[in-house]
Structure formats: C-alpha cells, structure tokens
Subunit: 222 residues, 2 copies
Amino acid sequence: MRTLYHLWLSPFCRKVRIALQEKKAEFDLKAENVWDRRPEFLAINPAGEVPVLIEPDGTAISGSQVICEYLEDTIPEPAMLGKTPLERAEVRRLVQWFDEKFNREVTENLVGEKVNKRFLKLGQPDSSAIRAGYTNIHHHLGYIAYLVDRRKWLAGDQFSLADIAAAAHLSCVDYIGDVPWNESPSAKDWYARIKSRPSFRPLLGDQIPGVPPPKHYADLDF
Amino acid sequence: MRTLYHLWLSPFCRKVRIALQEKKAEFDLKAENVWDRRPEFLAINPAGEVPVLIEPDGTAISGSQVICEYLEDTIPEPAMLGKTPLERAEVRRLVQWFDEKFNREVTENLVGEKVNKRFLKLGQPDSSAIRAGYTNIHHHLGYIAYLVDRRKWLAGDQFSLADIAAAAHLSCVDYIGDVPWNESPSAKDWYARIKSRPSFRPLLGDQIPGVPPPKHYADLDF
C-alpha cells in the first residue's frame, strides 16, 4: 500500500489525491504538520514540504508535479498528461498556470491569509491581500470559462492533470466559500462535472476541525 | 529556426538556453521586456512571462519546465531527465528545489532586490531580504556539496536538467558576484565542470548594459 503525507487544505496534496484516485492506485493518508519540522520527515524530504508519496517498497517521491509525472510514468493508463508532446505541453502549461499563478494570486491570498495564517499563529489576515484575492479570482474564472467554452476540458478533449490542478485549487477556495460561482456559468458547469467524478468525492467529505465548510461545498448541485 | 523569447538575467530563460544547447537545437534569442505587456506577446503567452519557445512551425511553448519536458519529448538524446521513472523523479525533485526553493530563498533576494528592482524602478533594495539571501546561499551551496560528494552530478551519475537548473540560478547570482565559492570546494569544482561545457559558454559572454559582471564570472579558473 502507498502512503501519502499531506495537509488537508493544501491544493498540491489535493491534486495528488485526485491523481492517485484517477489512476486507481490505493493509498493511505497521513497528515504531516510540516511546521513541526519532524526530523524523520525531513530525512524523507529535506525540503520539509508535503505532498510526499511513499511507494510500497519505501521509495519516497516529493512534490506534487514530481509525483504526478512519476504516476504517469509508472501507471500510464488512464493518461492524464495527454498523448502527444504538444498535448503534454498544453497540459503542463495549464498545470503551471494554476500551481504558480492561481496559487500566488488567489489561493495564498484567500486560503493562506484566512486559514493558514490563523492556524500557524502568524498574525492577523492582511485585508489588502484578501481584496486582491477577490479581484484576481474573477479573472481566473473568466479564463476557465474562456477555455471550456472552446474545449471539452481545460487542456483539450480529454480530462487531464490541468483539470485536476485547477479543481484542487478551487476546492480549497470553495471550502472557505470564496468562489463566486454564479458569475460564471461555464466555469460552474465545468466544476460540477469534476465534482461528480468518483476521484473527487473523497475531497468533498473533508472536514477540518474548527473550520467547517459551507453547505454547498459537498453538494453536486450547488 | 526556433526563437526563444527571454530576459538576460532570468534563471528560467538561462535553463532553457542551456537545455537547447545540450540538445544541439539551433535558436535565435529575442529579449522580451515583459513589463511592457506587449499585446502581441500576451497573445502568445497569456501569463505574460518568459521563457517562450517558438518552434519553426510557429507553435509556442511557454514556461521553462514545460519547454524542457517538451524538448525531452521531441529530442530524446542526449537524455537530460534520466532514463527510469525513479531517475526522472530525482531529476525533477532537484529541478523544483532550485526553481522554487533556491529561487525564493536566494535568487529573488539577491538578483531580484539588487538588479530587477532597480531596473523596474520598484524602489530601494530591501536590506533584510539581501541579508536573508546571503544567509540562505550557504545552506544551498552546502546541499550541492553534499550531493556531489556522493554522486558525480547532482541527481546521479549523469549530467541532467538538475545540474542545468542549479547552474542557471547560480550563474545569475554569480553575475552580480554574490556566490561565496571559496567556502565550498566541492560546489566550486562542480560549477567549474559546468562552466567548461560548450552548452554553458554563451551565458558566460552575456553583458547586460549598465550591469557589468565581475572579472571571475567568465573565467573557467575562478
């Protein structure tokens, strides 16, 4: 059995959880409080970050994109990176879009300020960062709508890691009720299709102590 | 002929320049002042960032890791990501180490504060960020030494994209004279081996107007 070291509201860990489910790879979840800098965990990943995947033989793979590329290498079907070099480039471009740009402009400004900062006792949320997050998410929902108005899924005709990465980030922001779904029917329809996938269901059952999700979080009809 | 849109002191663009040279792929360089947000460039890459590679047929690939994975897909030899899934996971882990952790802890604190900030007229360099950069680079040189004391190259017996990414970042910091090479003979020896590769030579000839490099920057015996 594989083990995934993770944190509940980390979009990067959620991305790997969905990817493992899509590949039908069984795994146990272990929450790792990375801020404790546990020596045994640092020995596994000197960067001290989650996600880290432990293979059944004890091999450790660190970092969400490294893990997802490794899964695609070792469990090729169903493909989640595309079949041709150009398809893979488009999937990876969009994964990077969400893991870097969306993360910096939205996830960190909203989930980072409102939840992580409180949890780590790093002081009061920065209201200007939160305002920036609210402004930025409109542009990103617009980009998602632009893409799915032209393609079946974000990167093309096939469901891919681009959809997984985008949904992983949005699910964290949705957990705190900060996604203005009603302003973008196309983006909402795309997310509803993701929510109904069996790979995504476990995330909808997440309950973080002291931070209950809004009622619509787990609803397929939201 | 390929075209690479780039910026001279961007470690991500340097990484792609070295990778293209290693793959013996000919290309023209075009400097793109991304802060101008030129509409024609935004149409090519909506993220508005370099590097962007234009293939001879006009196809555009954006983002340093996306481009490098695409090059490995389309020009497999010489391999720069490793041959087995585990080798590739170790190469990608270290690429991410340098592109994210080293970039955040060192490159942005030193090159970002001292050069980019002045160039973009973003105010005075932040002296606490610069101090953090000086402190952090010791740990990273120590990690490079730790790796090359145990392996021929950073990720194993073969030269790889891990070496390319690490050297791309260090070359930017070295351009402003901020790498304390003498404190780490192993790291210095590794960098000397990189400097002597033909793929790295063009970077040593870079001259940024108004920001001359120190004399040792281009010296193979530094």
